[in-house]
Amino acid sequence: MTRADWIVIIIALACLPLVYVYNWRTQTQAIEATISGPDHYKRTIMLDHDQIIHVPGKLGDSVLEIRDGKIRFIKSPCTTKFCIHSGWLKYNGDVMACLPNGVYVQVSGGTRKYDAINF
């Protein structure tokens, strides 16, 4: 092993914590939510004022609550209630879904990006 090897090893190990801090820092706050449901239902709602939204789904209405720039499911006709247990969404890019009811929510920071392989 040469001196250059040791220098690279030390730099790599020293920079690693910085990479963790940089990539794991707090995300940016979302400013809008896109709600989609069955039958091409799609709505984009700003998160700046508090409200309750009813979304028609396959089983019945999913009820969403917007408060303090966050959004969550509060009522759902599904049996598992995973959607309610996902809790509040507030960071750009977060998603939650109620699969039995076919209701999807994604929050974003204004510019919409893709979240899967696109062609």
Binding site: A4, N23, K113
Partner: protein, 184 residues
């Protein structure tokens, strides 16, 4: 009508150099390891020991950057053809990693002074490899900021595995040089 016996059979002869044969043999070794490695299940998706890169680093130390670059790129090409992933996302990821690490190795091997041993090369190549793959994944497949949250974890693994591979290379190079001295 011409007599078929007077016609000489058509022959195409490709002139190959010693270098070409060497590249072909070494690529075959790298492809074999690549195939073997693709059969090993990993405990975390995205983490691979990168054993085929041991061949690339060893070739770099023994025969120089040009041969190593050929072996690295051909390994990805032939490996993807044999595994049936040619031009698929898997192939793009593989290729971007190989291109990134080969470029990094070019920089590293042109350093003045004593330069790096196999450990330094392997570590740099592993880090360049994972970074190249992340850039490719982000630009082509998953343009979502959340992808980068995975980067530190995989970079840590790259550093650990890069160093382990480097140590294997170092021992391999020492043995190869010892046998070369004995036979000559």
């Amino acid at each position: 009508m011409p007599d078929p016996n007077t016609l000489s059979p058509m022959q195409i002869t490709l002139s190959t150099t010693r270098d070409d044969h060497r590249i072909a043999w070494l690529t075959a070794a790298a492809v074999l390891i690549h195939l073997f490695e693709s059969a090993i299940p990993t405990f975390l998706p995205g983490i691979k020991p990168g054993l085929a890169n041991i061949v690339v680093i060893t070739v770099l130390v023994m025969y120089g950057w040009r041969t190593a670059a050929w072996v690295s790129i051909l390994r990805v090409l032939v490996g993807s053809l044999l595994l049936g992933t040619f031009l698929s996302p898997t192939f793009m990821m593989s290729l971007s990693g190989a291109v990134a690490s080969v470029s990094m190795l070019w920089l590293a091997s042109h350093l003045p002074g004593r330069g790096f041993s196999a450990v330094g090369y392997s570590l740099l190549a592993a880090m360049a490899h994972i970074s190249g793959q992340f850039v490719c994944a982000y630009t082509l497949f998953i343009p979502h900021a959340g992808l980068w949250r995975l980067f530190p974890v995989l970079l840590s693994m790259a550093i650990v595995l890069g160093m382990i591979n480097g140590i294997i290379c170092l021992r391999l190079v020492n043995r190869l040089k010892a046998t070369a001295c004995k036979t000559s």
